[in-house]
Amino acid sequence: MKISVADVEYAARLARLELTPGEKELFAGQIGAILGYVEKLKELNTEGIVPTSHAVPMENAFREDVVQPSIGVKKALANAPESEGSFFAVPKVIE
């Protein structure tokens, strides 16, 4: 399957990845090869087969609506690159 550099750039932007021109070429080829491999599935007759969304045959895992202790502000913010008071601090977001 042919994947263009433009396709790679589009996906990279959605994923917030910065790629060098060399990487774009490299990944275009690699992604194309992976998708080409998956294409092979089209050769199979899948009529009557339900699309698989999950690999494990399991359903309905629930929890009851009962409050469990939270971990606390200190722990919640422990891994934050920046925090202030009880908030995570991020660059200014303007709408």
């Binding site: 999950h54 359903e59 629930f62 609506d65 469990q68 971990i71 502000v73 919640a76 908030f87 601090a89």
Partner: protein
């Protein structure tokens, strides 16, 4: 050229569960920022979401109450995008196979026939966190992120583009709001964002069957603003087209201060959410038995209750509609009737005195200081002639203030109605003697003077004279 607006609404309904949709953190409003968080709602690596069963039960109830089909097998999907209030980099939502599909609501606008508005789908999803601006002190002029709200359960109710005016949109919204609050699955607080609406608005030439390009308006948090935002947007698009421009598909933000909408640049990028089934959450299978059980548990809905109030209690349609505005109001009314009140009279008092007092004091009907039983007792005192309807209002005010029973207020303040003809006659005699000129006028043909005499007698009796006795005696005496 004349234009036809086309409107579809997406409503987010925050569910009244105690915990979040995928973890056990509390959903209580107003806690210290980030104090109600855990690895799941913080999106920490390796944390696994587990679905809150109550969210499913609420969703089924919402679906059944809006005439939807419940999807036997539905799945959760990841909606991928980056934003600082979304810790995982994706929102867990439903894409294909949402829990409810193909419903409808009949809306009614004054003086028009009811109109059916289709509901495309209702799906479950998690809310994002909250961004605060300008609250960080010190050298940091950035934004703050509070993830207490992250992972709070929402239903998104999506209508078909069946609405044709701002009035229809508001009518639909009000009905949906009434249903979710009636079911007790949402507190309906629009200011706090528990019930919020995005409107998709486009215009097309009248008679066309091709929709125009739509703009999505966000951030509308009251019925009034929904009307304003939609009307502004319709006019903006018409003006744009008339001036030779084209409407672009975009997200616009409503500004309640100016009543206008403006483009949200930050969201201009093409939406490409790359939805895919969330492997962390197993499929949700809802059996017919489960649906049936939910159906049995549904309360009598507003529409049904209105019909019953008309059929069983003989209420006029207007009264039935007003008294079923909320479940609490309808319950109050029925409790008053059950306590022996006449349905029409109880209804009148609720729509009159009680509503006025509730509004004046900003009290919800749930905390009305006068109980329905007390109201019925008060009405009994009018019925059996103990007090007049006028005095009843004074007694009501005192009941509202002190919470005392009407009977004891009447006794304490000596408000018992005077029906004793002798006592009333002597008052009338005094009044007539003191107003001889007016008596002459009346006898000379000025019938209107009658009201003057009634007023004087009632005043002299401090409102306690029985009005019908007063009328009768006055008529006789004035004849001379």
């Amino acid at each position: 050229m004349r234009y036809q607006p086309v409107i579809g609404l997406e409503v987010h309904v925050q569910l009244l569960t105690d915990t979040k949709i995928f973890c056990g953190c509390s959903t209580k409003f107003g806690a210290e920022p980030n104090s109600q968080t855990c690895p799941v709602c913080l999106g920490l690596p390796g944390a696994l979401p587990v679905l809150n069963k109550k969210v499913v039960e609420f969703a089924i109830k919402a679906g059944l109450s809006t005439n939807c089909s419940i999807t036997p097998r539905s799945i959760f999907a990841r909606k991928n995008y980056f934003y600082p209030d979304l810790p995982k980099g994706y929102q867990i939502s439903q894409f294909e196979d949402p829990i409810c599909q193909w419903g409808w609501l009949d809306i009614k606008i004054d003086g028009e026939e009811s109109k059916r508005i289709s509901i495309t789908r209702i799906h479950m999803e998690e809310d994002a966190g909250k961004l605060v601006h300008g609250e960080l002190s010190g050298q940091n002029d950035g934004s703050g992120v509070d993830l207490n709200r992250a992972c709070t359960p929402l239903l998104e109710v999506v209508s078909e583009p069946d609405l044709r005016s701002s009035d229809e949109a508001v009518s639909y919204l009000k009905q949906l709001h009434q249903i979710v609050t009636w079911l007790g699955i949402c507190d309906g607080n629009m200011e706090e964002g528990s019930f919020r609406c995005d409107a998709n608005v486009s215009v097309m030439p009248v008679g066309s069957d091709t929709f125009g390009t739509r703009a999505e308006i966000k951030n509308v948090n009251s019925f009034k603003f929904v009307k304003q935002a939609i009307e502004y947007e319709i006019q903006r698009q018409i003006d744009l087209i008339e001036d030779g421009g084209t409407v672009v598909q975009e997200t616009r933000l409503f500004d309640p201060n100016s009543g206008t909408t403006r483009s949200m640049r930050s969201k201009e990028e093409a939406h490409d959410y790359r939805y895919f089934p969330d492997p962390d959450l197993v499929p949700l299978v809802i059996s017919e038995e489960w649906v049936e059980r939910s159906r049995q548990e549904l309360p009598e809905l507003p529409e049904q209750r209105q019909q019953r109030f008309m059929a069983e209690l003989g209420l006029p349609p207007y009264d039935a509609e007003v008294l079923t505005a909320s479940r609490a109001l309808a319950d109050y009314f029925e409790a008053g009737v059950a306590a022996g009140g006449n349905a029409k009279t109880v209804g009148n008092w609720i729509m009159g005195e009680i509503t006025r007092a509730l509004n004046d004091s900003g009290t919800p009907i749930e905390s009305c200081p006068v109980s329905p039983v007390q109201l019925a007792e008060l009405l009994k005192l009018i019925d059996n002639g103990t007090i007049s309807g006028k005095i009843a209002k004074t007694v009501f005010d005192e009941m509202w203030r002190s919470g005392k029973a009407p009977q004891s207020i009447v006794e304490e303040q000596g408000l018992v109605q005077v029906s004793d003809t002798g006592a009333i006659e002597s008052i009338i005699d005094e009044i007539m003697a003191a107003n001889a000129a007016q008596v002459e006028d009346y006898r000379g043909g000025k019938d209107k003077m009658f009201g003057f005499f009634v007023g004087q007698v009632m005043k002299a009796s401090k409102g306690k004279a029985n009005p019908s006795v007063v009328n009768e005696l006055l008529l006789n005496k004035l004849k001379g």
